[in-house]
C-alpha cells in the first residue's frame, strides 16, 4: 500500500517537473517584459496581457505569420507525400516478385548507413545545383524520401494476408490496383503512425531549413524563433508567445493522434 503511494507520489512529482517548461512558456507569453524580468519569481501572470500574441501577427518586422504559413505548408506536404512514397515502395518490395528486387532493396537500405544530419553538406550541394536555395521546395524535397519508412512499410506488407491479395487479383485487379484498393485502405494505422511522425519531424526540423532558407521569405517557424533567440536584443515575452504558437499545433495533434504516434515510435524505434 505504502509502496503504491510512493510510486504515485514520485510519478506526480516527475510529471509536474515535465509540465513545468510548458507552464513557464505560457506564463511568460502572457506577461509584460517588466514582469518577466522582475527579480521576484511570480507563478501567475497577474495582470496578464494578450498583447504579445496580437503583436506577433501585426508586427511586420517579425515575419512570424509568414513563418507559420511556411511551416504549415512544408509539414502538410511532407507528411502525406513521404508516407505515400514509402508505402508504395514498401509494398512493391514486399509483394511484387520481379527480377532485380533484391538490388532495389539493397539500393534503398544502403542509404540508411549514412547518419541523417551529416548529409546536410552533400544535400546542400545538390539543391544548390538545382537552384533550390532559398525556396520552399528546396526545404521540402530531400525530406520526401525516407528509406527507413520504406523498410517499415515493407515489413508491414510482408505480413499482409495473401488471401486478400488473391481475392483482389481474381476480381481483376493488377498489382497497383491491389495496392491502391486493398493494401492501402487496410494499412491506415500504419499510415497514420508514419504520417504523424513525419509531420512532427518536418515541423520541428531546424538544421536543414536553416541551411536552405536564409531568406526571411522562406523562414520556417523554428528559424524565425531561433533568429530572435540568437539576436542581440529580444522582446522576451513576444518570443515566448512565438514559442507557444509554434508548439500549439503539435501538442494538439499529439493529444489527438497519440495512439498512432506511440505505435509509430514503437515501430520505428525497434528497427532491427
Amino acid at each position: 500500500m505504502i509502496r503504491v503511494l510512493v510510486r504515485y507520489l514520485g510519478l506526480g512529482l516527475l510529471s509536474t517537473l515535465f509540465l513545468l517548461p510548458f507552464y513557464i512558456m505560457l506564463r511568460n507569453s502572457l506577461m509584460t517584459t517588466r514582469q518577466v524580468t522582475s527579480t521576484d519569481w511570480q507563478w501567475l501572470p497577474v495582470p496578464f496581457t494578450l498583447d504579445n500574441f496580437t503583436e506577433l501577427f501585426t508586427d511586420t518586422s517579425v515575419p512570424m505569420g509568414g513563418a507559420l504559413a511556411n511551416s504549415l505548408l512544408i509539414a502538410t506536404v511532407t507528411a502525406p507525400v513521404s508516407t505515400m512514397l514509402a508505402a508504395m515502395a514498401g509494398y512493391a518490395l514486399a509483394r511484387i516478385q520481379v527480377p532485380g528486387r533484391g538490388v532495389v532493396t539493397a539500393f534503398i537500405v544502403a542509404t540508411l548507413m549514412i547518419p541523417g544530419s551529416v548529409t546536410f553538406v552533400p544535400t546542400f550541394v545538390v539543391i544548390d545545383a538545382l537552384g533550390g536555395v532559398n525556396t520552399r521546395w528546396g526545404i521540402i524535397a530531400p525530406g520526401l524520401f525516407n528509406a527507413f519508412a520504406v523498410l517499415l512499410f515493407r515489413s508491414f506488407y510482408l505480413r499482409f494476408p495473401s488471401e486478400i491479395e488473391e481475392a483482389g487479383r481474381l476480381d481483376g485487379l493488377g498489382h497497383v490496383g491491389v495496392f491502391r484498393r486493398l493494401a492501402l485502405p487496410n494499412s491506415t494505422t500504419m499510415i497514420a503512425a508514419m504520417g504523424a511522425l513525419s509531420f512532427i519531424d518536418s515541423w520541428n526540423a531546424f538544421l536543414w531549413p536553416l541551411v536552405i532558407g536564409q531568406d526571411p521569405s522562406t523562414w520556417t517557424v523554428q528559424i524565425a524563433l531561433s533568429t530572435f533567440l540568437t539576436a542581440q536584443t529580444v522582446n522576451l515575452p513576444g518570443l515566448f508567445a512565438g514559442a507557444v504558437v509554434s508548439i500549439l499545433p503539435l501538442v494538439v495533434m499529439f493529444l489527438v493522434a497519440q495512439r498512432y504516434i506511440v505505435q509509430g515510435i514503437t515501430m520505428s524505434g525497434l528497427k532491427d
Binding site: 510510486r7 504515485y8 512514397l85 511484387i96 549514412i114 544530419s117 546536410f120 544535400t123 498489382h175 515566448f240
Partner: protein, 318 residues
C-alpha cells in the same frame, strides 16, 4: 488488366513450368511504385554523396564545381584544426553524459509506469508530450527562463531556497555548468520517446516468468537483473544505438543556446562537429572542407556505432 486472368493455381504452376514468361505487368507495377523513391534517394543520397566526395578532394571555396584537385588536403586540414578536434572531444563528452542518463531515465520511468494500474496513459502522455516540442523552443525556455542566470530564473530560485547565490548557468565555464543546461534540455525532450520503447518491451515479457521466479524466491533486484534486463536486451540495444546516433548528430540546442548569429558562434564555449561544419560550409562557404568534414564525421559515427554494437551484442543470435 491482362494479368487478371492468371489462374488461381499460379504458384504451383510456377513450380511445374520452368518459369512463366516474365510478367510484364508485374515489372511495370514494380517500377511505377518504386521509381519515385529510387530516383529521390538516388539524387539526394547517391548523387549528393558522390558529388560531395569529389568536392572533398577539391579546393572549393564559394563554389560547388569540382576540379581543382587538392588530394587529401581538406582532410588533413580538418584533422590538424584545433576547432574540429575540440568539436570531436565535445561530442564524445556530450554522448558520455547524455546516453547513460537518458537510458536510465527512460528505463526507470517505464518500470514505474508499468507497475501502476491506474493512470498509466495519463502519465505516459505527460512524459511523452515534450517529444512534440522542437529543440529551438526548448532552448528558448532553458536559456531565457529556467537557466537564465537571473535571480528570478527557476534554477536560481531553487538555489536561493538553499541559501546559494544565483549562478549564470550558460555563461559559467569553470566548472562547466552549461552542461547542466544542455543535458537536462535533451533529457526532457527525448526521455519520453525512449520510455515508450521500453514500455512496449516490458509489456512483451510474459508474466509467468516473474511468477516462476517468485516461486523460486527471487524478488526486487534479482528479478530485474535476471528477468527484466535480459528480456529487454533487444530494446536496450536499439535504444542505445538510437541515443548514441542522435547524440553524435547534436546541433540544434548547441546552436541556439550558445550562438548569437552565425558569426558569433566562434565564441561559444563548446561546439559539436555539426555546428563546426555549418560554420565551415555555410559561413565560410568552404564546401571542400565542409564535405571532407561530413565524410570524417560519417566515418566516426559508423565506426562508433559498430564498436558499440559489438560491445552490447548487436546482431548476436539469441
Amino acid at each position: 488488366m491482362k494479368t487478371a486472368t492468371r489462374p488461381l493455381q499460379a504458384p504451383t504452376e510456377a513450380i511445374t513450368r520452368p518459369r512463366r514468361r516474365t510478367d510484364r505487368s508485374a515489372i511495370l507495377a514494380f517500377v511505377a511504385l518504386t521509381a519515385p523513391m529510387v530516383l529521390g534517394l538516388g539524387l539526394f543520397k547517391y548523387v549528393a554523396i558522390g558529388w560531395s566526395f569529389l568536392l572533398s578532394l577539391s579546393e572549393a571555396r564559394g563554389t560547388i564545381t569540382i576540379g581543382s584537385w587538392v588530394g587529401l588536403d581538406n582532410y588533413e586540414f580538418l584533422l590538424r584544426d584545433p576547432g574540429f578536434r575540440s568539436s570531436l572531444v565535445t561530442i564524445v563528452l556530450f554522448a558520455v553524459f547524455i546516453v547513460p542518463v537518458t537510458f536510465a531515465g527512460a528505463l526507470g520511468l517505464a518500470i514505474l509506469l508499468h507497475r501502476i494500474r491506474r493512470g498509466r496513459a495519463l502519465f505516459r502522455t505527460t512524459f511523452l508530450i515534450p517529444a512534440a516540442v522542437s529543440y529551438v523552443a526548448a532552448a528558448l525556455v532553458w536559456k531565457m527562463s529556467l537557466f537564465n542566470g537571473l535571480p528570478s530564473g527557476i534554477a536560481n530560485t531553487v538555489l536561493l531556497l538553499f541559501g546559494q547565490d544565483a549562478v549564470p548557468w550558460v555563461a559559467t565555464q569553470d566548472p562547466p555548468l552549461y552542461w547542466v543546461v544542455l543535458v537536462t534540455l535533451r533529457l526532457w525532450l527525448q526521455v519520453g520517446f525512449y520510455m515508450v520503447l521500453f514500455l512496449a518491451g516490458l509489456q512483451a515479457i510474459p508474466p509467468h516468468l516473474y511468477e516462476a521466479a517468485s516461486l523460486d524466491g527471487a524478488a526486487g533486484w534479482a528479478m530485474f537483473r535476471h528477468i527484466t534486463l535480459p528480456m529487454l536486451r533487444n530494446t536496450s540495444v536499439a535504444v542505445l544505438m538510437l541515443l548514441l546516433i542522435n547524440a553524435l548528430q547534436a546541433f540544434d540546442e548547441f546552436y541556439n543556446i550558445f550562438s548569437s548569429g552565425l558569426g558569433a558562434s566562434a565564441t561559444a564555449p563548446v561546439r559539436p562537429p555539426l555546428v563546426y561544419l555549418y560554420g565551415v560550409a555555410l559561413g565560410d562557404q568552404n564546401y571542400g572542407v565542409g564535405s571532407a568534414g561530413a565524410f570524417l564525421l560519417t566515418l566516426i559515427i559508423v565506426a562508433i556505432t559498430l564498436v558499440q554494437g559489438r560491445v552490447v551484442g548487436f546482431g548476436r543470435k539469441d
